[in-house]
Symmetry: C2
């Protein structure tokens, strides 16, 4: 007779960064931890986002009891609409995380039909066989938790993303005691964030950026633009406090920044004094040295407020000579070219640029723990089995090695997406594999029904045809050298090539000189316009790939 086993089945984030998702199964009960997305590599043309292949969950639909979210970053919650379009299950998350999720589900018209359940650190809840205790951790975002999951064969702890910030800005401490308690009682398996496994030492507290940013504020003579990830609530709070200290009003520019600040304010994470915030339209009533502009777009995203301001194409955010622009964030690998393009544009406007290139002091810190924090948590939890999560294969391997070196774990095991790890009280071993992989989604800029999300599955897409628009742009003049070439494939019926060509010409004519030099933006605009035309005319949603030839 086969004894019952606990199954740990990673579906995303073990073998790549992003699209974090992991299933835990005991008999007929499955719970899912996180439902993230990732942003595509440049090789995956014409794709907007990537989510995990959840075939396994869909095939076992009737057993999936819940999705539990550790925190509100896109690589943990961004695939949720996609998941929920296939699985009708309740979603558990902390208050702040739910606020992000609600916005997202509302956009996709999924909010009404989804059961959202708020969880609170230290308050256990039960889903099927599992009793789960959220444990407060610190990270670059607020209200993040690890999960201690009590199963019939022992406790499994999943850290989510964490650093151990011993002086958090909101005084909500990393709950060392609860981890220690579990460690004392005995933990079967610890699944721990591997993101910063290459960094020795200890990640500095979020507070560590204050002194240098304070200096930057002191030195700014004119307007000060402050950009960070819109989810970096602590960072936004620091910027606002510094603005107040230095006598600057705050204008918030960019949709994600606006939404995020509002949520943070509503939930009490930022305490904004009366009169600090002004509408972007009011900026003209103040002298430059009285203004701070909180602006989205640290990664050089082509349509973000900062990218547009950098080429002098934003209604409110005008960057003038002598203004200071602070990019308080890291450069996500792969975004270098876009970010540096924006920075070069800022220099051409004679702005003073302060970015995290190693030469500007500590204006950004990571939200992920370094090696010492990894070791500390392993020492507290002392699990029998250690399983690294969140990272490329090499990170998982290195993390496993670090864990073994602590002497506090019995076995460290590297598993990847699709592996099935079976555990009982004494043993853990890799069994057969389940379906795992990436689903590429071309969401366009305006998803408003979830069916669209589903349709964007690339398997469907490739049947919906492909459109390639080739633009030969003269580098010197920014003008098109010849009529654009539009190639369409996989369409029955109407030939709208000519119309498409004219649209491309018109779109390019509508761009400013500086916009034309930003190929990211050119492509994005051409893609959006062509998509609109083709959908309207044919009802199809082909993959659209603008290609720029410089001549």
């Amino acid at each position: 007779m086969q004894t019952k086993k606990l199954k740990i089945i990673p579906l995303g984030g073990l073998g790549e960064f992003g699209m974090n998702c992991l299933a835990l199964r005991w008999e007929d009960d499955i719970i899912v931890i996180d439902a993230g997305l990732m942003f595509p590599e440049s090789e995956l043309l014409g794709v907007d986002i990537v989510v995990p292949d959840i075939t396994y969950l869909v095939e076992n639909k009737q057993h999936v009891r819940a999705i539990i979210l550790t925190h509100g970053h896109q690589d943990h919650i961004g695939g949720l609409s996609w998941f929920l379009s296939e699985l009708k299950v309740p979603v558990y998350a902390t208050e702040f995380t739910l606020a992000y999720v609600e916005g997202n589900l509302e956009e996709n018209h999924l909010l009404d039909e989804t059961t959202l359940i708020e969880i609170t650190p230290k308050e256990k809840f039960t889903v099927g066989t599992f009793t789960i205790e959220p444990i407060r951790v610190t990270h670059s975002l607020v209200d993040c938790v690890a999960l201690a999951i009590d199963t019939p064969v022992g406790v499994v702890i999943h850290t989510g993303d964490f650093k151990i910030d011993l002086a958090p800005l909101d005084d909500k401490a990393f709950d060392l005691h609860t981890f220690a308690e579990y460690g004392k009682r005995g933990v079967l398996a610890l699944l721990q964030d591997s993101t910063n496994v290459d960094r020795s030492g200890y990640t500095p507290s979020e507070r560590a950026v204050i002194p240098r940013l304070d200096e930057v504020f002191s030195q700014a003579k004119k307007k000060l633009f402050f950009s960070c990830f819109s989810s970096s609530i602590y960072r936004i709070r620091i910027a606002m406090e510094l603005a107040r200290k230095h006598g600057r009003k705050v204008a918030i520019v960019g949709r994600s920044m606006m939404e995020s600040s509002e949520i943070a304010q509503d939930l009490g994470y930022i305490d904004i004094p009366q009169g600090l915030i002004i509408n972007p339209g009011q900026m003209r009533d103040y002298a430059p040295e009285q203004l701070m502009v909180l602006i989205s777009g640290t990664q050089g995203e082509p349509m973000s407020a900062l990218s547009r301001a950098a080429v002098d194409n934003h209604k409110h955010a005008q960057i003038d000579a002598g203004d200071t622009v602070v990019l308080s964030s890291r450069i996500i690998p792969g975004n270098e070219k876009s970010i540096f393009r924006v920075i070069d544009h800022l220099y051409r406007r004679d702005a003073i640029v302060v970015c995290d290139d190693g030469s500007n002091g500590m204006i950004h810190v990571s939200g992920h723990g370094s090696q010492e924090e990894m070791r500390l948590l392993i020492n507290l939890v002392r699990p029998k089995f250690f399983i690294p999560v969140h990272g490329d294969y090499r990170h998982l391997r290195k993390h496993a090695q670090i864990a073994m070196e602590t002497g506090a774990v019995e076995h460290a095991m590297v598993i990847e997406d699709g592996d099935v790890l079976e555990l009982d009280k004494n043993d853990a071993r890799k069994k057969d594999k389940v379906t795992a992989g990436r689903i590429l989604i071309d969401s366009g800029s305006s998803i408003d029904v979830v069916e669209e999300l589903v349709l964007r599955d690339r398997r469907v897409l490739s049947e919906d045809g492909i459109v390639m628009a080739v633009l030969a742009i003269n580098k010197r003049t920014g003008k098109m050298q010849q009529a654009p070439e539009v190639v369409m494939r996989g369409f029955g019926g109407a030939d709208i090539t000519e119309e498409a060509r004219e649209l491309v010409i018109k779109t390019l004519d509508g761009l400013s000189g500086e916009e034309k030099t930003d190929y990211g933006m050119v492509k994005e605009k051409v893609r959006a316009e062509l998509k609109r035309l083709i959908q309207k005319t044919t009802g199809r949603r082909p993959m659209i790939m603008p290609v720029i030839l410089e001549v």
Copy 2:
């Protein structure tokens, strides 16, 4: 009456990294400093290399007297064949640089018709109005020079690429004295390398990598694979000396590594003891701990020896569990994905990977000077005008600021590609612009006549048509999910779509399982095969873009 002016006209490398090229003009005499290439951004699909637009030089062909090369890196010499196909002028360079140039010109059948003139540090030579003194500088490559150019309005010094290595491995010192002499006598303009302007302090000597690499060699229990840029002659020398010290034979794998080592040995830069080098075929005669394999491919180039070895597809270089792989080089921004893909494959082979990720000690140092070296050279040269070269716009700006802060220059001026800076003894000002830009070249893997190079000009290419091959690959099985879609445009005549589709299928079938997971390699192979077919059948050389859809 207009007084005569010296014109400084950058055509590449001022506003981007790579494709360095700068013209100096006095009346009817033009000299060109460097003729580099750059590697394309991912946005420029289907392009292999990028060279500067030299319309200005071609239009003034009869006045161009010489191309003078500062050193042998591709971003300084890689565009030379392209230049020489348009301009028949002599090329001046040091002995080692000429050895690289010769190889390159021979490949393009240009060697016989080109006049190559060897130059030597401290030995002045005259070209038209200009008298030029090469000054020895240190860099990651050997035999590099700066150029002091005596013109009718004063001396202009161009640093080329440099660091100030005060303990160079070959005892060929950075010639501080000559720079100081010029500084004492008075220098009109200094054009200085901006590459590392973001780094404070001093770049360590090339020797600084020896202690840590020595440790790595001590700890290696089985085969040791050592990869670095093939032009890093000092690094190759260090690796060979360590191999000898630790009782390992050296097998050299990869064409560029082989050529480079040979040149370095011929010219006395590496002194290889009898019996140290073995043929790759002899590796099986030695125990793993008796072998070091010097292998090309630090940047994860899809067809390089290391990339192939990583997926177990190299005839000689077989990487087994417990082997050590050292990547003694930096990660060039933009190459992260390819490099980390290779590293993940190495981990899957259970190799020990030592790369420059910040966690492995000093296994690589930069070849470019940091801020203190920039300041030191400015202090020695004390030019009236300072002009930063080699960098994105922001680097040039920052470098200009650093120069002004030294107090040793009168004016620092930022100019970009195509600007014309006019100087006399007292004054320098930006005048009108000349044509400048990038020429995108799809060289394929086998250029053998220079006419091909010229044909690959994208202006011609876009008339030669476009081929897009869309492969829907199943992520899990690595197999094609449906027949490939081949779209051809801009072809008259023969329809070879069906043949092309079959070829794509055949090509994919010929790849190993691991190769199939490496999309870079898949694309490269598909591109090469399609190119061959289309050229053979139609005589055309269209732009070929393989697109992979994961399903």
